[in-house]
């Protein structure tokens, strides 16, 4: 099976839409700050309810997961179906290190994050070495997910098995208060966004884009595809491990469903696809929208799942690139029709570039 996309007529599912990344640095910082400020206001009207704050913290954890997954899948096309498992390596690792080994919370979070980073890097290294395609990478990482779940269920004296594990460390700190955990997770989100944003501007970001658009061409142009894939997996897995372990301490209780395949990976995939695979702010949009939607529709119980199924299908049929790229290109088109020559010229320049790189487009 060749890795090279041969589908030239439609838009590719991975990436495709590239928000221009050469904007000046202050613009990036202002945008991230704006997102942070908007999200920082949430406790003002949710803060009274412990339940709703819990939902909000989980929502931010999902934003983190989605950013990490986006870095791995969206940037370099490696379908890692072990988002929950990598976060679980962080979560379970940190909980066990803190409670059983007696390390401090910070040290155990760092060590567990390191373990998740190493695991993610190893998976990517193996996949790259065997040059597995998207689907095979997906299967191998799915197998890792299932093994992790079996291990968690099996080592029940360490992990608490099916019922889960209560985390004793950190019970009397601010991590278990009502509002501070929200800001801890929000800080993680902003740091992750900043890292991803800076990466996109750097030579690593250029390499990511090159290898995602056309692996063979990138390799020929001197991009070490294998190395950059492993880089992306290392950074993404570090994010997943850090978010998972931090979330474990704020929640105080972890169970197999906290990091389950159906509960995390599938959801993260949907969130990312909704927001826009490969975009910087897509993960935020997708995760926030789905968290809110899930809470609003909670009284419908299982029918929610039906609604999500319909939403997924509609999404991939009509806007496979996700919400942000689709609306962005609509916006650009509207501006183009209004006669803004600047936008038009950059658009046609982009089109020319694409034509040169072999991605033929039908004339509008």
């Amino acid at each position: 099976m060749s890795n090279r996309p041969t589908d030239m007529s439609g838009t590719s599912l991975i990436g495709g839409a590239e928000v221009r990344s050469s904007r000046p640095l202050p613009v990036l910082l202002i945008r991230i700050a704006a997102v942070g400020a908007a999200l920082a206001l949430a406790p003002l009207w949710l803060g009274d309810s412990r339940v709703l704050m819990g939902v909000a913290v989980l929502g931010l954890a999902f934003v983190c997961y989605t950013i990490g997954f986006n870095l791995i899948f969206g940037s370099t096309g490696q379908l890692f179906l072990c988002v929950g498992a990598l976060a679980g390596v962080g979560g379970y690792g940190a909980a066990i290190l803190a409670d059983r080994v007696g390390l401090s919370i910070v040290a155990s979070i760092l060590l567990a994050t390191l373990a998740a980073t190493f695991t993610g890097g190893l998976l990517s290294f193996v996949a790259v070495r065997r040059s597995l395609g998207v689907i095979f990478t997906g299967i191998v990482t799915l197998i890792f997910s299932l093994s992790f779940e079996a291990l968690v269920l099996g080592l029940s004296d360490l992990t608490g098995g099916d019922t889960g594990r209560l985390i004793d460390s950190g019970t009397d700190t601010f991590l278990r208060d009502r509002i501070p955990p929200y800001y801890v997770m929000l800080a993680l989100v902003l740091v992750f966004l900043l890292i991803h944003g800076l990466l996109r501007r750097s030579h690593i970001g250029w390499a990511f884009r090159a290898l995602r658009d056309d692996e063979v061409a990138a390799e020929l142009a001197g991009v070490d595809v294998a190395r950059y894939r492993v880089y992306a997996a290392l950074i993404g897995a570090a994010m997943l491990g850090l978010a998972g372990s931090t979330y474990a301490f704020t929640e105080g209780r972890i169970s197999p469903t906290t990091f389950g395949f159906g509960e995390v990976d599938v959801v993260v995939l949907v969130m990312l696809a909704f927001g826009g695979i490969g975009t910087l702010f897509g993960p935020i949009l997708g995760a926030v929208v789905f968290t809110v939607l899930d809470e609003v529709l909670i009284e419908f119980g299982q029918l929610r799942v039906v609604a999500y199924g319909i939403l997924i299908i509609a999404l991939f049929l009509w806007m496979p690139r996700g919400l942000i790229p689709t609306t962005a290109s609509l916006w650009r088109r509207v501006r183009g029709l209004e006669g803004s020559s600047a936008a038009k010229s950059t658009d046609s320049a982009a089109r020319n570039l694409k034509a040169v790189s072999g991605e033929s487009q039908s004339p509008e």
Binding site: G10, F136, I143, S147, L303, V305, V306, I312, I313
Partner: protein, 285 residues
């Protein structure tokens, strides 16, 4: 040891049947159907409801298999249309995501409407001794059905014109088109067949453990793993992979313990994929 191998074969036949329907659709259409487990669950629930309504077992099973086939036909007629317009990896990805959506819809509906419905088919009668090992009657009937199914698939693909036409599409879609075979019609046929096979998965599984509305995801996941180990699109490979993994699982369970045995099973699958990405019986492209 004999007991282990026999148990392994029983489990392995289950695995093999699990993968058959999935691997056919992938081999023929490049479509990865993540709603495959839900097809089986739908068939199981239909059979269970039919039996609740007073239908005898055999007509109920027939209705269930029909429901599975209809599910496949429905997928082919609706959602897979846009999928067929794409090629290669884009096709696999789109099919995977759309059928993931279908699996959500089916799961959500079934859990909402029939939360407690489950299918278990008890085969009356005591254990039967084979090679000195007492085997449960349900396992034997399930294995027999699986073997007959595989024999039927073999005859269909090797001996009938229609089956050969299907194989020609698997081998070379353009070439098949040139000699007057419509790949799309073959694909529709195979989707219906895959639905019926999913129904058979439900029936044979129900003879050993109950199939409830939550079984979908795990059926899909194991079908996927066996499919990949056997070689995508290879029915004989699926059977072989299923039996090997089944024996590995049972022996590991006997020697070490049950949760490690699952990890060993998964590890064996991973190693096979890494060593032979084309699958056990696969041909490298």
């Amino acid at each position: 040891m004999t007991a282990n191998i026999l148990d392994g074969i029983v489990l392995g036949l289950q695995f093999g049947l699990l993968a058959a329907g999935l691997t056919l659709v992938y081999g023929l259409g490049g479509v990865l159907n993540l709603a495959y487990g839900q097809m089986a669950v739908v068939a199981a629930i239909v059979i269970s409801l039919a039996m609740d309504a007073g239908l005898p077992v055999f007509p109920a099973v027939a209705v269930g298999l029909l429901a599975g086939g209809m599910f496949g036909l429905l997928l082919d007629l609706t959602l897979l249309r846009p999928v067929y317009r794409r090629r290669d990896e884009a096709r696999v990805l789109l099919s995977l995501l759309l059928t993931l959506g279908v699996s959500f819809i089916v799961d959500g509906f079934l859990v909402w409407r029939y939360p407690l419905e489950a299918l278990s088919l008890h085969i009356r009668g005591g254990a039967i001794e084979i090679l000195g090992v007492p085997m449960r009657r349900g396992s034997l009937v399930a294995s027999a059905i699986t073997l007959i199914t595989f024999a039927g698939l073999y005859v269909f693909f090797q001996r009938t014109t229609l089956g050969r036409a299907v194989r020609s599409v698997i081998e070379d879609e353009e070439g098949a088109r040139l000699v007057g075979i419509y790949p799309n019609r073959m694909l529709r046929l195979i989707l219906i067949l895959s639905g019926v096979l999913a129904g058979l998965v439900a029936v044979t599984r129900a003879m050993i453990t109950p199939v409830d509305v939550h079984s979908g995801l795990s059926i899909t996941v194991f079908a996927l793993i066996v499919t990949v180990v056997g070689g995508l699109g290879n029915v004989a490979g699926a059977l072989l992979a299923g039996i090997i993994l089944g024996i590995v699982n049972v022996i590991a369970a006997d020697l070490i313990g049950s949760y490690i045995s699952l990890i060993i099973l998964l590890g064996a699958a991973a190693v096979t994929i890494l060593i032979r990405p084309a699958g056990l019986l696969g041909v490298k492209e």
